[in-house]
């Protein structure tokens, strides 16, 4: 295989593959910075994928689809928020519950949607916009500067998120909730409110990540389209060491292996291609082995917060 010849294709696939992961991971970053580990991302992405697809097809407006999809994600994540923040339920258990319920709702909705009109099975795809000049850069130009508008917005989100956490007062307060919520409470910070806000942001961004799959990546929806990305997002946050820029790097890396998988499949069609398909998942494990640290991350991450302590 001529690696250099296929590299541009791989890089293009890398950025495409990185975007849904990046969106979802950024959402999870907000959640974990507030001390909430949300393993239900997979389910939220499914909801975002379906609703984004259906509304986009129904109204003919992909951006409206994205918006409604994000709202649906927020709604679903409010279930998670209520259970974990107000009822102090175990975060992992609640996340799993979301993972079971949300894709079911998505599948149900899809069956109804296509059942009513079989033409609904195929939607439209967002067009790529090439940035003049930059998109002609050899090798990387096509990959980074000929993408959909949603992809560009996602990349712009990275420095914005980073700036928020580093330079805004509310960013500092936000972080304190994930590190030591009791300390934050004594300083008058409304811990419960911040946790709910984190869930709103996480729900919106994760759903956007899912919606990207059905309105930019492909023009269709299938059951299981998320393919474990919601869980890879959890690894991305760890691998990216809870920083927006780190998460960008990690997402691109995962996206690269995803792209590699597709390129290998195209090149070696005779081979048992399923081994190539394993690559992104095995890579995630290897990344965690080498870069996952036992004690990193917000100190109070994953712990339930009881407001009035007895």
């Amino acid at each position: 295989m001529d690696f250099m010849a296929t590299l541009p294709t791989i890089l293009k696939a890398m950025t495409m593959g990185a975007v849904p992961l990046l969106l979802t991971s950024l959402g999870e970053l907000f959640s974990e910075r507030a001390g909430l580990v949300n393993i239900g991302l997979e389910g939220i992405m499914a909801i975002g994928a379906f609703v984004g697809f259906a509304v986009g097809k129904f109204t003919g407006n992909l951006w409206l689809g994205l918006l409604v999809g994000m709202s649906a994600g927020v709604l679903i994540n409010m279930l998670y928020a209520f259970c974990t923040v107000s009822l102090c339920a175990d975060q992992v258990v609640t996340g799993m519950a979301i993972n079971i319920l949300a894709p079911a709702i998505a599948l149900f909705g899809y069956n109804l949607f296509v059942g009513s009109n079989s033409a609904n099975a195929t939607g439209s795809q967002m067009a790529s916009i090439a940035i003049p000049g930059l998109s002609s850069i050899p090798l990387i130009g096509n990959a980074f500067f000929d993408q959909t508008l949603l992809a560009y917005l996602t990349f712009i989100l990275v420095p914005l998120v980073s700036y928020f956490f580093k330079h805004f007062r509310s960013g500092l307060s936000f972080r304190s909730v994930g590190e030591n919520p009791h300390a934050a409470e004594t300083l008058g910070i409304d811990v419960v409110r911040i946790k709910y806000i984190a869930c709103i942001v996480c729900g919106a961004l994760a759903a956007a990540g899912g919606a990207f799959l059905t309105i930019c990546y492909t023009p269709i929806y299938t059951d299981g389209i998320v393919m474990g990305r919601g869980f890879i997002a959890l690894a991305t946050v760890i691998f990216g060491r809870w920083s927006a820029v780190g998460i960008l790097g990690a997402s691109l890396l995962f996206g690269f292996f995803d792209g590699l998988n597709v390129a290998l499949q195209a090149q070696f069609q005779a081979a048992p291609v399923m081994f190539f398909k394993m690559i992104p998942y095995i890579f995630t494990i290897i990344a965690l082995i080498f870069f996952g640290s036992r004690h990193a991350g917000p100190k109070a991450n994953g712990q339930p917060y009881y407001r009035e302590q007895r």
Partner: protein, 503 residues
């Protein structure tokens, strides 16, 4: 002097339990007012009501004569009330500056203005003599500096009334002097301090007035100049307080446990051990005194098999050098352990009292057939009930979860379990932490009884009085090193105190 704070008829109940009942507290401007009471008397609850973490079930609060509703910590801050907690409320990963300005609502810009805040804080630091490295991560700071950050948090928000909850617990004598200096400079400017402590000597030294709490009620408020330590102690207990004294022995016989030049993480001053040598004899209580954080935890972990020494030798009850460091091998060799944190380390909270009592014996023939293949539930319950009666463990049933017991009863469960195994070496780490006088006495009596029966006992405690009371010999830990070993009978307190501060 003018009245600053008045808490009138404050009651706070949790379910059917009254933590505070009809408490009256009045603090003047510019005074140091001590809140005195034993563990469980209701001091923390009352202060949590004051700073808005709890809402009072009944009663009113007045600041400068006007009634106020303190519905949240934010509101308390607005009224000029701030608290320095016993267990610091700091974000370890953030710098001193970030911790101080966190959540401050007085700014117009949503962006951080670190330079401005830095200047403001520096001015306060100079005014009150609080030395802080603002750019250092809290996790890297000394305990003393962390405490100063806590105090600065409160001053930065313009507090006129500061509550200091057991601030001297983690300080050396020298640092306590420094704290008292800071307190004086605060009161000189008209600020008021509520000082919570149970260390009589300090209370007499620093306070203007003292309010004594007992079993949730305010008993009396006296001027320090009008009273004595003995009187205060009597008020605290509710009856003539006689210090329970124990006979000290000199056990020169068999060594039950020995450490020879043991080191562990020796470069770390607060968390390591350096060239520690000590020998514990059968039938004696060997007490280790020192300020918390000077090596007590690694010492306890070493002696219970949780960590391995990096150099040096450890010699076990049978006289031979220990090669394998694991809790189970130590337990098999006759170790009994009353750990530092009963909920985290001693008990499985969600298991029943009975299950906790037989925690280490599930494979024995007494409680199972076939070496653990079928548990004898009936035998287990009978045994648990026997221990419950013998040790006065107050619970409705041994089928209750351990978590649902009070602190004192939880400790009784641990004691019952450990002592019934007739250990050769009993390690007790801060065994009366958070317990009231009754439970404390029970624990102390049990420990002394074990000593009299021939057990070797290692008592590690940050409560100096406890160590003085029980130990037959006293060693002092400072920054991971043994500073000296002193006799328990007629101990040279001055010398020991100096040793605890590193001299």
């Amino acid at each position: 002097m003018a009245e600053l704070l008045r808490m009138e008829n404050i009651s706070k109940c949790f379910g059917s339990f009254y933590a505070n009942r009809d408490i009256n507290l009045e603090v003047e401007e510019g005074e140091v007012h001590t809140l005195l009471g034993e563990n469980g008397a209701g001091k923390s609850t009352l202060m949590n009501v004051l700073i808005g973490l709890y809402q009072p079930t009944e009663g009113k609060i007045f600041m400068h004569g006007k009634e106020v509703q303190i519905t949240s910590p934010g509101v308390a801050v607005q009224h000029g009330i701030g608290m320095v907690h016993q267990h610091f409320m700091l974000i370890d990963d953030m710098t001193g500056l970030e911790n101080i300005i966190l959540g401050d609502k007085r700014h117009s810009s949503p962006l951080l203005q670190e330079a401005d805040d830095h200047a403001k804080i520096k001015e306060l630091m100079d005014r009150y003599g609080l030395g802080i490295d603002l750019n250092e991560r809290v996790a890297d700071m000394s305990i003393g500096m962390q405490q100063r950050v806590e105090i600065m948090k409160v001053l930065f928000r313009g507090a006129d009334l500061l509550v200091l909850d057991e601030p001297t617990a983690v300080l050396t004598d020298l640092e306590v002097e420094g704290l008292f200096d800071i307190m004086h400079s605060l009161t000189d400017e008209g600020k008021s301090l509520i000082f919570i402590s149970h260390k009589m000597r300090e209370v007499m030294k620093i306070s203007d007035r003292v309010t004594v709490l007992r079993r949730g009620k305010s008993v009396e408020t006296v001027r320090v100049s009008d009273t004595t330590e003995q009187e205060l102690a009597d008020l605290m207990i509710g009856q003539k307080f006689t210090e329970n004294t124990y006979q000290k022995v000199e056990a020169a016989e068999k060594v039950a446990f020995e450490l020879k030049d043991v080191s562990y993480h020796s470069s770390i001053k607060h968390g390591g051990l350096k060239d520690v040598s000590l020998a514990i004899h059968k039938g004696e209580i060997f007490g280790v005194a020192g300020i918390d954080g000077n090596g007590q935890t690694p010492l306890a972990e070493l002696v219970t098999g949780l960590i391995k020494p990096e150099s040096g030798e450890v010699i076990g009850p049978d006289g031979s050098k220990i090669a394998l460091f694991s809790p189970s091998s130590f337990i098999d060799a006759g170790l009994g352990n009353i750990p530092e944190d009963r909920n985290k380390m001693g008990l499985v909270g969600d298991m029943t009292v009975a299950e906790n009592l037989i925690l280490k014996q599930t494979k024995s023939d007494r409680f199972s057939f076939g070496h653990g293949a079928w548990l004898k539930m009936g035998a287990i319950e009978k045994y648990a009930n026997r221990l419950k009666d013998e040790n006065d463990i107050r619970c409705t049933s041994v089928r209750q979860t351990a978590r649902s017991l009070s602190g004192g009863n939880q400790q009784k469960v641990i004691l019952a379990r450990e002592l019934d195994a007739h250990p050769k070496l009993l390690v007790a780490v801060y065994p009366t932490r958070g317990l009231d006088i009754g439970a404390t006495e029970f624990v102390h009596n049990q420990i002394v009884a074990q000593r009299d029966a021939g057990c070797a006992i290692l008592l590690i405690s940050a409560d100096f009085d406890e160590v003085l009371k029980l130990s037959d010999r006293i060693a002092v830990l400072f920054e991971g090193q043994i500073m000296g070993v002193y006799p328990g009978a007629n101990p040279p307190i001055k010398e020991i105190s100096l040793a605890m501060a590193g001299k």
